[in-house]
Symmetry: C2
Subunit: 322 residues, 2 copies
């Protein structure tokens, strides 16, 4: 209401609308001010929001979300160990499908295979959400690809950057990683109990530690202009909206066949040489894109065609990270 | 030491052996007495164990286990919600591979697909253990079959009963279920974080609720003689020992090829008609046993051969539960 009001909004109007006391209104205003909203309170006139910018807070994100269901249960945290772990704990306590956790900082952010993920305060979008899908556990690995596509959509919508997909779970701009996706699952052999999809987008970092400098970048570094800042609230909304849409397409066929063309367009290294780093062997071949179930098709020099599953390998360009 | 001693064991001997004080020895004796051990304490002579029976307790089970590694970290509980849930919580806290939880009672025992599992005090073996395997998530469903074979071994060793396997996760005696297995997994798409194998064996129930009477039984009901009681401590030891052995055979080939013959011999309905209850269709065919990766081979009347994965279906005999 404050965002949409043209003028001062009287305390009484708010009391009447929400059926609460003056004290309750006052407490809510105080809480918004603590989240960072500048709200002016003038006796006999009421309240007025001074700066209408999105604030990276519970209210800021919740009121910006234009999704149909994803994130309607939203948990914003200034800090947590890992947003994936936080969603897992909520899942074990029975949280609803679509619950989203956004943390401004992760103290133990996680990447694939137990690697850590740098997630300093204010510098990125670290968020995870909960799914309780009805399909078989084998299909869940496709969700990483659905998510990659949606995040690429969201980054493009918000920043205009041309964001590529490095199969299976990284997003790259200009040859460096801007986003990683970590999909975790709890299942019995028949049934998925829940899936946690984690998304980490490097937004504002200006400098990376030595060991990451060659392979990692951030959206703001890619945009170049030092004053160019990316609105994380808008980015979250865009990613989650696109995710709902891409997920709908996935559910229609229970595979990636409706997404394959769009995926292929964003996939890096299509028809180029890639190096596949397997558990027991490494090899080089030409990447021909993905199958409808998400395997990477790689043709070896002798003509043998392999379907690479995400569990087996890392895939890199022959000349470096991408 | 008390079990093996021929005569009284002096407090001083115990102090010297364990390098602890008299008080510490006395406390340990008190704890054993609380677990149910009858221990006589005679001044100037020492301690003597009166009945050497296995007690269903932390000490009773721990001292009976002859496994190589499984259960060396043992947690005995008089009651828990579900031993699988308890192991999951321990896993999240970093518990070691091979941790075993045995509960004398489950207040919310779990079966497949979120069904409940009757687990009254004193009436069964309700136990779960933790694995942190290095293989790919897709292979984990085979652990249910490895476990079924090991439990059948253990039941046969302890009771002499001829125990059959109802693919994929039940054990039957005389056409009724005596044991269910629930394998749960936490994974990211590449890597297993942990697996929880849960085993529920009906041991002492003399009567089942109406709705289970047709399909469930207990080992003691099968043995018939009312005084015939099954030693649950020995049963746990036997099951876990056989599990280690069967798991070794699984790890050698990373599939069931070394176990297939034994499995086939215990599998019910081989070369008989079975009814496959799928998600979208039911059909009848002849069961030809399992593949090396654990699918059930079913030949339809028109000669089509299907490989049924455990995620898809229930399988029953055409004339009833088995």
């Amino acid at each position: 209401m404050l965002t949409e009001a043209q003028d001062y909004l009287s305390g009484q109007t708010l009391c009447d609308y929400f059926h609460v006391s003056r004290t309750a209104v006052w407490k809510a205003i105080r809480q918004l001010q603590e989240e960072g909203y500048e709200i002016e309170a003038v006796r006999n006139r009421g309240y007025r929001l001074i700066r209408k910018d999105d604030i990276y807070s519970q209210t800021g994100i919740a009121s910006a979300l234009k999704t149909k269901w994803l994130g309607h249960n939203l948990v914003f945290m200034e800090a947590t160990d890992s947003s994936n772990n936080q969603v897992r704990r909520l899942a074990e306590q029975g949280a609803a499908e679509g619950t989203v956790v956004v943390a401004d900082r992760q103290d133990a952010g996680k990447g694939r295979r137990g690697r850590s993920w740098l997630s300093a305060e204010g510098s990125g979008v670290w968020m995870s959400f909960l799914l309780r899908p009805q399909f078989q556990p084998e299909r869940a690995s496709m969700l990483t690809l659905v998510t990659a596509l949606a995040v690429a959509d969201g980054i493009c919508e918000t920043t205009g950057l041309d964001c590529g997909i490095k199969w299976p779970n990284d997003l790259v701009v200009g040859g460096k990683k801007v986003c990683g996706i970590l999909t975790e699952m709890s299942s019995d052999m028949d049934t998925i109990q829940y899936v946690v999809v984690g998304i980490g987008i490097n937004v504002g970092m200006r400098k990376f530690p030595e060991e990451l400098r060659e392979t990692a970048t951030s959206l703001e570094l890619c945009l170049g202009e030092p004053e160019e800042s990316v609105n994380r609230v808008k980015l979250i909304d865009a990613v989650l909206r696109h995710w709902e849409e891409r997920y709908d397409a996935f559910l229609q066929k229970m595979d990636l066949s409706l997404l394959q063309d769009d995926y292929q367009r964003k996939l890096v290294n299509v028809e180029n040489q890639v190096r596949v780093l397997g558990y027991s062997e490494d090899y080089v071949g030409i990447s021909h894109g993905i199958t409808p179930t998400g395997e990477l098709i790689v043709e070896l020099n002798d003509g043998e065609v392999r379907k690479v599953t995400s569990g087996e390998v890392s895939v890199r360009g022959v000349y470096g990270y991408v």
